[in-house]
Chain length 290, copies 2
């Protein structure tokens, strides 16, 4: 069986890594959290003091961390995997980061005969726990086939989108659509409420027609319940929208509705609501002057 | 069996009326189109020269016409049903029109002991043909129960939203959400294309996650195919967004994303694309300077 390294044992990474352990994969981890280290040691994983130390022991290295610079550190930094990983090692970066940086990192690693896939996910913590994530993969398709069994443990729908960076582009599309759809639902709910109409009835009726969406189902319910426990934190959604708009600008594109969504997420985070679910954008819809 | 009058035998009304005939309802129609008149005469309907002449012969009058003023003419005009309809007659207006005007008309009719439901639909021509419309009903719930069998012929999901006008408010919410979601999908597809990524793959992957929606499914495919045959005409969608924003302004609400969607539909229609499906908003996303 392939030896799997896992770096980034956060809200998403922890259940994903546990699912791999339970599926029988020998797991090798690096984490700066002592509690997490203990949890994985007890579960049977091997612990390392740095990505560099971990890398020579594995066939596959999965990373899922917050920012582009985190991935750069883990892969190319002083203690990065590039210094020790065997030729033929496959890096699977499941973080949501810059598509352009992803391409550059993949090229750097390729010079050392290390393959890299970008494989960001959709489906949230629940999808990570259930192993039902949707995985958007960029990079070489034959490399993808080599690690397909690992993806099958983590997710339900695995789509090869295209070359290196294509997975990140798909994820940017995903985050744009979700943010704009939340705003759409939010405005509709505000209109219903202001007109004295029960928004729960409206949601119920609309789920039967062309306005139906997972966002209307899930985030719509959150807005109705005023329950903004994440879910997916506004601060992370904001980061993702900034990545998408940055990519759009590099491509000289104008995406007015996505830019509006980014500004809403900016305002929400600046008001101190970054830890709430991004459905909390409804707070701004309700109080535009705030 | 209830005698049913039907006024407004257009793209939506014609198949809906035919479904009622096939379900065994004695049908009474008024239309200004000679060809449509002949079609319904041959199918077994009784033909009248005006709404006023029709009204005294029926228990239920269904209207589904383009504009608020059309409904006002049919119900309250010189040749309107108000002059002849029996007490206890039920008017079901399935048009998409102003919620405020709906309330006023319902009050006027009530003085003559005529009940009115607003019951706009979602699901398009296909839903009208298949009898699978989603129907959003405003008005008295006991009146709704009286006509439930008629709704069961026309639609699959019938939701009583609230008092008079509530159905129209729900429809406004529906149209806002669809328009904004089309824009979201449109921007995402543009980003994918510009980044050199196959947007069909992106759509496929995203349908498995939180970005999934009927709009991504249906309108997304239209955008990928550059196939803007309606579907639902941009000119009608524009009219509906104007109704929604007008209602929002009356309620002193700011709905920036819906307002942006309205402006997009305005520009699309002004460019002469009003007969295309509203997914053609993608043409503006592609060429924002146009």
């Amino acid at each position: 069986m392939q030896q799997v390294g896992f770096i980034g044992l956060g809200i998403m990474g922890k259940p994903m890594a546990m699912n791999l352990l339970h599926a029988g994969y020998p797991l090798h981890v690096y984490t700066r959290q002592e509690k997490t280290e203990q949890l994985f040691r007890e579960a049977g994983a091997t612990i390392y003091a740095s990505p560099k130390e971990l890398a020579s022991h594995v066939d596959i290295i999965i990373t899922i961390v917050p920012a582009t610079t985190d991935v750069e550190d883990i892969l190319l930094g002083k203690n990065g995997i590039i210094h020790t990983a065997k030729p033929g090692t496959i890096v699977i970066d499941m973080s949501t980061i810059s598509a352009a940086s992803t391409k550059r990192m993949a090229e750097r690693l390729k010079q050392k005969h290390i393959d890299m896939l970008d494989a960001p996910v959709s489906g949230g913590e629940k999808g990570a726990i259930d192993g039902s994530l949707s995985i958007m993969v960029g990079g070489d398709e034959t490399v993808l086939k080599t690690v397909q069994p690992v993806f099958n443990v983590l997710g339900k729908r695995v789509v090869h989108i295209g070359n290196s960076g294509a997975g990140q582009t798909a994820k940017a599309c995903n985050q744009i659509i979700i943010a704009e759809t939340i705003i759409a639902i939010s405005e509709a709910i505000l209109l219903a409420k202001a007109a004295g109409v029960d928004p729960a009835k409206v949601r119920e009726a609309l789920l039967g027609g062309y306005a139906a969406s997972r966002v209307l189902e899930v985030h719509g319910q959150r807005i109705l319940d005023h329950d903004y426990q994440p879910g997916f934190k506004a601060s992370l959604h904001r980061k993702d929208l900034h990545l998408a708009i940055e990519q759009a600008h590099m491509l000289k594109l104008d995406l007015p509705a996505a830019t509006h969504a980014m500004h809403c997420l900016d305002r929400l985070v600046l008001k101190g609501h970054g830890e709430l679910d991004s459905a909390a954008m409804h707070l701004l819809t309700e109080n535009p002057s705030e």
